[in-house]
Amino acid sequence: MENAAFLPVAFEVVLLVGALVVLLVAVVADRDRRWWGPVAGLSFALAGAVGFLQWREVEETGGGLFFSSLDVPVFRSPMVVLDGYSAFAAMLLAVVGFVGLLAAWDLVVKVGKRGPEFVVLVLLAFAGLHMMTATPNLVVIFIGLETASIAFYVLAGFVRTSEASKEAALKYFLLGSLASALFLYGVALVFGATGSLSIYGANSIRNFFSTVIVAEPGILLAGMALMLVGLAFKVTAAPFHQWAPDVYQGAPTGAVGLMSAGIKVAAFAAIGRIFIGGFISQIDAWGPIVAVIAALSMIVGTFLALVQDDIKRLLAYSGVAHAGYILTALVAGVQGIGPMWFYLATYSLMVVGAFAVVSTVAGPDAGRAPLADFGGLAKANPELGWLMSSLVLGMAGIPFFAGFVGKVLSFTAAASVENPWPAGDNGYLWLVVLGTLTTVIGLAFYLRIISTMFTGQEPELQTEATLPIRFAVVISAVVTVVFGIVPWPLIDVVRDALPL
């Protein structure tokens, strides 16, 4: 355990060192050679290795809490937690960051001398994202959330010449900050109600619930609701999704994949950590609310995706629906953690891969990406067409693709728990039925993408993907297909990815 003092924060340290190296060297070094790509890739590879070491450490020792000074009684709360949950998040975020950077490489090339800034922002954002998953302290979760969000606001507005990009940045910034402030007020109210900012540890929220019977839960419930709303904004769950389509459409296409996948992984992990790790004893209070948000997300996401003509907006609304499917798993409590990780691991890579294809066809710094431009893509470039088709089928939830397994796991978890409202022991059956219905309706717009690619006119646009993009798309498509046919290895892993 001697090395463990450093290991719990090694993921963040590796990415921050990578970011600092890029920043410092960029001052003096030649900016024409694009050496920052390998540096960032190496940082993500090392971070992934760190995640694996953390996973091994947890398997051997069971993990634990770190960085609390027991000598000073007022600072008893730990700041970092190392468990299967944070270690799996580290591995997943490293993969998403690596593949996302490959998918964004066309954009990095296009922005030329500003490439180092882009890479640094991505590295910093992912350090913040992992911070959200690896801390028991609510304020540190907020700091991680803001670290990532502020970097993403800049990435959304990264193309200075594009009006759409600036508009996306402003919308993302205003609504994202509003969501962060709501989350933070929730933290403050929970602090007032429980007297603790930490989920685990000596003087923690968990201990509070096991020793105190809450007589007047008003402030506590308001705090939990505000935290849920703040995080629901970030994962684009309805009715807090309105910013997502505009931001996805306006932001440079190359950056959208890693932005949306990264924040979804970390914010869902934070929801799981806070509500299932900390407030599990209050599940009768928050479970039905999460179920309603999930239901709204599935309905709104699916039906609004049907009428979109722009593929970036379509993928944004499909992301709203997917947020609903993941929240469906979370109503099950601890049993929902494994399904949530499986869904996040496969869906995040599908999103990154799909946006990589969009960035090839529409241009890495483009705002708009009309679906009509994809006409005949599969004829002009069969490789890209088939890979995109498998990603889209994965999102649609067709059997033998990973999205199907994710949905089955998520629905099974939701159907197996006791349902407090409307009371009954048949689980959230209504939610599962609704989820199945929206999945079927969703096929309409997913198949529309595929039929456009295979039937339309030969496009005049760029269809020849560059090497990094091809790598990114192939990796995500392989993950989608392999874990769709042989999901058991990943299911075994996520079963152990539980919070402490």
């Binding site: 996306a168 910034f173 205003l174 709501l182 933070l184 007020y185 403050a188 602090f191 505009d246």
Partner: protein, 103 residues
């Protein structure tokens, strides 16, 4: 009516400030004013943290308030930069004019 100012007063004041902030973001249409409203929300959270911290005799809330100030400052830098970029483009900070992206 007691003339002792209890922690409730601070919490109610903070809640009122927070509500004003939310209303400002939702009602006002100038990006700068909306941004000021968000800052008001963050500061009302600080007031809550500090009041609770004082009441419960815990230092954590005051530490949290310091962290929130730093985060708010970082947000100001990025936020003002974005608003200035928009203003240069249109000589207006009215968010209703930013309706190129919709559907």
């Amino acid at each position: 009516m007691s003339d002792i100012v209890t922690v409730d007063w601070y919490l109610i004041l903070a809640a009122a400030l927070f509500a004003i902030g939310v209303a400002g973001v939702l009602i006002r249409r100038n990006a700068l004013v909306m941004f000021m409203s968000i800052e008001l929300m963050l500061n009302s959270v600080n007031l809550t943290f500090v009041a609770v911290s004082k009441e419960l005799g815990l230092i954590e809330g005051q530490v949290a308030a310091l962290f929130v100030m730093v985060v708010a400052a970082a947000e100001v830098t990025v936020g003002l930069a974005i608003i200035v970029a928009i203003f240069r483009l249109r000589a207006s900070a009215n968010v209703d004019e930013l309706a190129e992206l919709k559907g």
